[in-house]
């Protein structure tokens, strides 16, 4: 899957529909990176299917010239399951939003992850309901003022990363709409993973929740507010790469590398196959206490639902032979009338 087929270019994946997102919406950048990555993955358009629910983000499938289903609100994971289980030869992407995936679609989302179906979920997290013009979502922060929470949201937000971890997702990653290189890399990694790949993308809704991710997205601050997870590398961040993350007992702490108290070797080294509880710690790193990790939190192997289904079918055939209707109909007691 790695070797890009030179024949494919991002034009092969451009659809003829005009894009209808608001000017300045973070979705544009995600679309652009996806179009860049798809040819590199080397799966031809006709072998690729994008499935989405409802929401601004879920308009995505119309803008890539592959097969696609713009389904109903929250149900994309279920639609994708039907496609992948019956058509394992296809590469299936699920495009969803924070409301689509975590509010109405939360159940399908966790069941897709636990079954570890070999599809890629990209969650456009803008911490708001965009298409319906600005109500709060399950990822809206406490106290967030929105059309439906004029006095501030009171729900404790869901953390997509720990939710995914709680159901033992095999691939968990995070990126940011404006970090185009990192985003492209992350999408590619998601495509390469066998099993359900889950990617949370910080996406700016500049109309209803502008700047929700400013701290993590903007040049000025992002080096100090985010940390890039790199497998096998110590966890260093900061404009001058002078801060790091250290494991102190069971807790993580931010340490300064300047004052000589700690050196690189004291830092936590990221391991994509590391203990889930460590991953859990990373998932719970939240601004402003911590820089927020971007990159691949977890990438482990487990049996996939689609493989297991095929296996059982083959077993059944091996054990009982390809089904014979005549035999089936005549099994048990029969009698003649003449």
């Amino acid at each position: 899957m790695n070797a890009p087929l030179p024949v494919l270019t991002s034009n092969d994946f451009a659809s003829d529909q005009d894009v209808r997102w608001c000017p300045g919406c973070g979705d544009y950048s995600i679309l652009a990176q996806m179009k860049k990555v798809l040819p590199e993955i080397g799966i031809p358009p006709e072998k690729t299917v994008f499935v989405s629910g409802i929401g601004c983000s879920s308009r995505f499938p119309y803008y890539v010239n592959t097969y696609g289903v713009h389904s109903i609100h929250g149900r994309a994971p279920a639609v994708a399951t039907g496609i992948k289980v019956t058509r394992p030869d296809l590469t299936v992407w699920v495009i969803t939003g924070d409301g689509d995936a975590l509010s109405i679609g939360g159940n399908h989302f966790i069941h897709l992850l636990r079954r570890n179906l070999d599809v890629n979920i990209i969650l456009f997290n803008n911490r708001i309901y965009g298409l319906t013009k600005g109500q709060y979502s399950p990822t809206s922060v406490e106290g967030q003022i929105t059309k439906s929470t004029p006095m501030g949201a009171i729900d404790h937000p869901l953390n997509p990363i720990t939710v995914a971890l709680g159901v033992e997702a095999t691939f968990i990653a995070r990126s940011i709409d404006s970090q185009v290189k990192h985003l492209a890399y992350t999408l590619k990694r998601a495509a390469e993973h066998k099993g359900t790949s889950f990617v949370e993308v910080y996406q700016n809704c500049n109309v209803f929740n502008d700047g929700a991710w400013a701290y993590a997205a903007e040049r000025a601050t992002r080096d100090d507010t985010t940390i890039e997870l790199e497998h096998g590398k110590p966890m260093i961040f900061g404009k001058d790469k002078d801060k790091g993350i250290r494991l102190n007992g069971l807790r993580l702490e931010v340490v300064d590398l300047k004052d000589g108290k700690f050196k690189e070797s004291d830092l936590l080294v990221h391991d994509e196959q590391g203990d889930p509880n460590l991953t859990f710690l990373l998932g719970r790193m939240r601004h402003p206490t911590f820089p927020e990790p971007i990159g691949v939190f977890r990438d482990v192997m487990n049996t996939t639902f689609d493989d297991s289904v095929r296996e059982q079918t083959n077993q059944a055939i091996a054990k009982r032979g390809k089904g014979d209707l005549q035999k089936l109909f005549h099994s048990g007691e029969t009698w003649q009338v003449s």
Binding site: S15, Q17, P44, P45, E46, K47, V49, F50, V51, I54, P61, Y62, N65, T66, Y67, G68, V69, H70, S71, I72, R75, P77, A78, V79, A80, T81, G82, I83, K84, V85, T86, R87, D89, L90, N107, H108, H111, V309, Q312, T313, A316, I317, K319, R320, G321, K322, G323, L325, Q326, L328, F329, H330, G332, E333, T334, W335, Q336, V337, S338
Partner: protein
């Protein structure tokens, strides 16, 4: 001489039909006994129809009325379409079974009870203060008291089984006695017994055999039964037969339809009574290229089916009323994106959770109208267990010819009922032609919403180069399928979708009528009431009443010629197990003052109920 071929030595009366009910505690194995009697009667050439009736609870408390499980079967020397109204014989294994079933035994009927189970404690469990066997009201029946516990114990004592195991043989003792009573050959049941308990449990198998034989022998020796009965073979169309239950026939029908269309079957469902057995049956048949998916809920089930249909597979989802309600929104999507799939509703008592184990016909309007916006789809209704096989074939044919989801209605009565089925010759099953478009050589752009003469759109499947296209729930532009908010286009598409479904009528046979082509009364039925209505109409015809029967299998669109048929009768009667749902459709479409006979008791019609109503409306000439 071996008992297999033995004939009872007492005087034999020949009768044309017999209705028996075996009733006992859920633990007593009455369903199994009834099934054996059914199969054996069918094997002997009778036509049969059954009505199993079990408690809502998994294991209702032993000996209580709530715990009573009954199995009724009618076997006859002519065609039968119902399990029979009143009982010729009732076998009651305990007091609860007696008091809850006696009302259906006709005067002079045979009442066989297991007298060993009429102790104080048994009466208490049945909330009885005195022993019903001592009740003078029993005098109008032919009461036969059999100490089944004791006799069974004696019959198997040689094997030294545990009391519990011995206890479990009682049902075969009862079966043996019934077999004797109706001159039934026990060999099939012996085959069953030894097939079932083969490995390791030979002693249990043996015990069941001994009990069966003991029951048979008891009949020979007892004085209390003076004669036996024989029901000659029925004249059924020639062929090879077997018994099928409704859910089994649906499952097999799906596999056959997939086979005929040369497709794999994707079956997605969430368990619910009384539909679950379809899942249970299909998941055993994975070697037929069947994938069964138990989804996290009904919405996921129907949505995964939509995904599979988009992928080019034969997709099916099943449920009962409450689950079908949950599928409503997604069914609308299926209609909008115009993909073929089957949605099967095995109806049960409602509303809400209602009466899960009871039957009803009250989901017709739900499947027709239970979606937002104008969202029509074809709806077909099975009329009997064996008809479930055929209805699937027709439904799938419509789905692929018209590119639309199609609903099949069954019900709890059909689902669990059994009847003989003339096994089709698989070799003669005609293929169901399905074509998936390829990129045209002319290089003209592919139009996913271009229409054929039936107004169906092409079924282009992922993987086909050049045919990449997106479908979704927003209104589509005619032809291109692009999102369109255009006013004229919307109206056009709404009409196209409606007309497409209406076109189904051109693919379906015209409505048939049984009886005079005009007259006093037309009885219109649909679904599981077929048998009771047909039998009642035939009885009325025999009495010289001017009445005909039209049973509708195609609920939407209704048969083209139905209106013209209805005109030819003075009155129209529509018996339904609901408050008049088909009646509403008929009145609306044909402006005829159709009369309803509406029963909503969780039970099928008895022939008598329908016949009585017919007599009110069509007088003897």
């Amino acid at each position: 001489m071996s008992i297999e071929t033995a004939k009872p030595t007492k005087p034999v009366k020949t009768v044309s039909e017999i209705t028996v009910r075996l009733a006992g505690d859920s633990g007593d194995g009455m369903q199994l006994a009834g099934t054996q009697l059914t199969n054996t009667s069918a094997l002997s050439g009778n036509d049969v129809a059954t009505f199993p009736d079990f408690p809502a609870e998994i294991r209702a408390p032993r000996g209580t009325r709530a715990g009573v499980s009954g199995f009724q079967v009618q076997f006859a020397s002519h065609e039968v379409h119902t399990p029979g109204d009143t009982l010729d014989a009732l076998i009651a294994m305990n007091p609860a079974a007696l008091v809850t079933n006696l009302a259906d035994l006709h005067p002079g009927g045979l009442l066989i009870v297991n007298e060993d189970n009429f102790e104080e404690k048994d009466l208490k469990l049945a909330k009885l203060t005195k022993n019903p066997l001592d009740d003078p009201s029993l005098e109008k029946y032919r009461l036969v008291r059999v100490p089944m516990n004791r006799l069974t114990r004696e019959a198997v004592k040689s094997l030294g089984l545990s009391p519990k195991e011995v206890d479990r043989c009682k049902n075969f003792f009862a079966t043996g006695l019934v077999y004797w009573l109706y001159g039934r050959d026990i060999s099939a049941t012996l085959r069953f017994i030894h097939g079932k308990f083969s490995t390791g449990k030979e002693d249990v198998a043996k015990a069941n055999e001994l009990s069966l034989r003991a029951g048979w022998a008891y009949g020979e020796t007892t004085e209390t039964i003076e004669s036996t009965y024989t029901v000659p073979a029925a004249k059924l169309p020639k062929g090879t037969y077997r018994n099928v239950m409704g859910n089994q026939a649906l499952a097999w029908g799906l596999i056959a339809a997939a086979h005929r269309s040369n497709k794999e079957l994707f079956y997605a469902s969430y368990p619910i009574t009384p539909a679950s057995d379809i899942l249970h049956e299909l998941c055993k048949l994975r070697n037929f290229g069947v994938t069964t998916f138990q989804a996290e809920d009904e919405i996921a089930a129907v949505c995964s089916a939509i995904g599979a249909a988009y992928g080019g597979t034969m997709a099916v989802t099943t449920s009962s009323g409450p689950g079908i309600a949950l599928k409503a929104e997604a069914m609308g999507l299926g209609i909008m994106i115009e993909l073929p799939m089957l949605v099967i509703d095995v109806q049960r008592g409602g509303p809400s959770t209602g009466l899960p184990t009871k039957t009803e016909q009250a989901d017709l309007l739900q499947v027709l109208f239970g979606r937002n916006g104008e969202a029509p789809l074809p709806v077909l209704a099975a009329r009997s267990p064996s008809d479930c096989f055929e209805i699937v074939q027709e439904a799938w044919m419509l789905a692929v010819k018209l590119m639309t989801p199609v609903v099949i209605l069954s019900d709890g009565y059909i689902a669990n009922g059994a009847e003989p089925w003339a096994i089709p010759d698989v070799a003669n099953l005609s293929p169901i032609e399905i074509t998936h478009p390829e990129l045209g050589v002319d290089g003209r752009p592919f139009l996913p919403y271009q229409r054929d003469e039936l107004l169906a759109r092409p079924w282009a499947v992922p993987g086909t180069p050049g045919l990449m296209h997106r479908v979704g729930g927003l209104e589509k532009e005619d032809g291109t399928g692009n999102i369109s908010y255009d006013a004229e286009n919307h109206q056009k598409m709404v009409h196209i979708r409606a007309q497409k479904v209406a076109n189904a009528a051109t693919l379906l046979p015209p409505q048939q009528v049984v009886g005079p082509s005009s007259g006093d009364l037309l009885v219109i039925s649909w679904g599981g009431t077929y048998g009771a209505c047909l039998t009642a109409v035939q009885r009325a015809q025999d009495e010289g009443r001017s009445v005909a029967h039209a049973h509708i299998r195609y609920m939407n669109p209704l048969p083209k010629n139905l209106g013209e048929i209805i005109k030819r009768y003075q009155k129209v009667l529509i018996p339904e197990l609901n408050m008049g749902q088909l009646r509403m459709l008929i009145r609306d479409k044909f402006l005829v003052d159709a009369i309803g006979l509406n029963k909503i008791k969780g039970k099928p019609f008895s022939v008598g109920e329908v016949h009585q109503k017919i007599c009110e409306l069509a007088l003897k000439k």
